[in-house]
Symmetry: C2
Subunit: 362 residues, 2 copies
């Protein structure tokens, strides 16, 4: 077990980390520029107040914005001659740049626990925040192996799974799989601000899925994007070229649905999307799985969904995913059940035998 | 009841319509350029083979691509002097343009049942395809009131809900809420085709939601987009300007996260997205609802999900939405439960009393 741990910052991530490590028996010391935030985190059980009399920590965790995390890391390396130091900010390049010249830089390794919530602050802290989430660790050439080992151990101890990646690669990766999707979702949703009500009444599940993360926190995301501008800019330029090309294709058709090449071009765009989405890893980090899908029409009443799932559970079938379609107008839910292909026939037979209304699937 | 009904085309929509109307007791006659497709639909019980001896139908439903639906509609208006005629293609402008000059055009009204599946063809036909889905009806000035009434009746008889809208408005509406989301999802997913595996291993729920519809059928979508080029082009140009502006904002920052105005600009983009997504109607066509969210950590074993929902059902609480997060690496599911705000405390107390592992929410 890693102990003592000195956590600088008492926001959502750091308070959650303090709660979890304390519950595991680590001696956790908390620090924050805001005394009240620090006392709140302590009141919540995330650790004890830090002071000059505290023992030298084994590990220092800097939970500060990328712009000051580097300085704080250097200060920690000086104050504690033996401790290992990490930060948990969501973009790594700047932090590394600020620490790399420090003579003790080998005791520092950046990291990024990919966990979050809609809510924020110490009060939202929860010791299971990291469960089942990736915790990226970004060593550089000079990083001490022991520092890397300790971070792996830290990730595993909070039920996260460590992923080792160079800092630049991390920033490019999150730019693609996290920052760009957020930006596109927000831009798409912003197109709806002036749309007539009647347009929105035709909204289906596709638009709902595409705009869910558009509800994210502006302040948080502004800072994330601001910390990764070059990478995001690169992806956006590629996207803009694609959209530009598509606009040309549409323009050249002169509104003739059979203009030479039009259908080929359009089908290619959709097909490329098919190829891309097929690469997203499936559940539990396996390769992408194509689940069988069964759609059921269910009265929208308490207990109906419960009965459905208990009936499925009794057949010993594991549901891989569930989606409930909100089609406006009716008090009927369309429940999409996703199961392993091997289970499909058994499940549909089972549900039919219980006279569920199966209305589709593949 | 509308009978007899003459359905021209035996694909997914039309076969499904035939199945439903037949089950309601309507006399349905089927036709298709492909004799084998027609016979398959008949074998499936969607209706009887049409021939010259069939009685004059009350309603003719044209289920053909927009490019030929207009001609077929005109032919039907001539062949049947009293029948009302509709088409079900997903873009309306071209069809109306082809029919409007016909002397009997008042007996025609275009429509668009907004129902579909991943799978296609008569074999995928299902009589509940339209349940709880919007069925848009697009009358023009000259449209006979009786034609409009019959279409409303048709929609209601298949458990869809009719929405009346001018053709141009329909095409602009679906361009925004259906075609643009499809295009953005496909373009985003296509960015993944060349990404390193390691990037994809960091994929979270956001990217998964954003790329789900990127799995759609290229041929189908190429034809839909080709039928609505002008509208889609307009939206894409707006989007491209937004992306362009964002690229400039990022570029002007010179990679300084605190460049003057940067955070304000970025926060504004996200905030506009907040405003847009808040306008999407909630369940059952009500105004957008903000559900309370409770997150539970659940072992990924058969029956666990079932037990959870039955426990919720027993408390008489209605789950508005369910999302299961696939975080790679762990055999634990993060189950997001969405309930009416009034039910939140009761649900979390109930689940705690049953010692479920509640790990978040708001």
């Amino acid at each position: 077990m890693i102990s003592p741990v000195y956590i600088i910052g008492t926001g959502l991530l750091d308070t959650s980390l303090g709660l979890k490590l304390s519950s595991l028996g680590s001696q956790v010391y908390l620090d924050d520029v805001s005394p009240s935030a620090m006392h709140l985190a302590c009141d919540l059980g995330a650790g004890s107040l830090s002071d000059d009399s505290m023992p030298e920590p084994q590990l220092v965790v800097i939970a500060a914005p990328p712009d000051c995390a580097g300085e704080l890391a250097c200060a920690a390396l000086e104050r504690f001659p033996h401790a290992y130091v990490t930060d948990v900010s969501s973009v790594k390049k700047k932090v590394i740049k600020d620490v790399i010249r420090h003579p003790q830089a080998h005791r520092f390794v950046g990291s990024h626990p990919m966990a979050g919530k809609e809510t924020s602050g110490a009060i939202a802290g929860d010791e299971d925040l990291f469960s089942g989430r990736p915790w990226v660790i970004t060593p550089i050439a000079s990083t001490d192996d022991k520092a890397l080992e300790m971070l792996k151990q830290l990730a595993l101890s909070v039920d996260a799974f460590p992923i080792i990646m160079p800092p630049d690669e991390h920033d490019r990766a999150v730019g693609l799989v996290s920052h760009i999707p957020q930006i596109l979702s927000s831009l798409l949703a912003s197109q709806l601000t002036n749309a007539p009500e009647s347009y929105l009444s035709l909204t289906g599940q596709g638009l709902r899925d595409m705009t869910r993360i558009a509800g994210s926190d502006p302040t948080l995301w502004a800072s994330i994007i601001a910390g990764n501008t070059r990478v995001i800019q690169e992806y956006l330029i590629t996207l803009m070229h694609d959209i530009n090309d598509l606009i040309d294709v549409l323009d050249n058709s002169n509104d003739d649905p059979f203009a030479p090449g039009l259908l080929r071009h359009l089908a290619t765009y959709i097909h490329e999307g098919n190829r891309g989405v097929a690469r997203i890893p499936g559940k539990h980090g396996g390769t992408a799985q194509h689940y069988s899908n069964i759609v059921i029409l269910l009265p929208d009443e308490p207990g109906k969904l419960g009965q459905l799932f208990v009936d499925i559970g009794q057949a010993g079938i594991n549901i891989e995913d569930v989606r409930i379609e909100h089609s406006s107008g009716q008090s009927l839910g369309r429940v999409n059940l996703f199961v392993q292909q091997k289970d499909e026939i058994r499940l549909s037979d089972h549900l039919k035998s219980l006279s569920y209304m199966i209305i589709g699937g593949n």
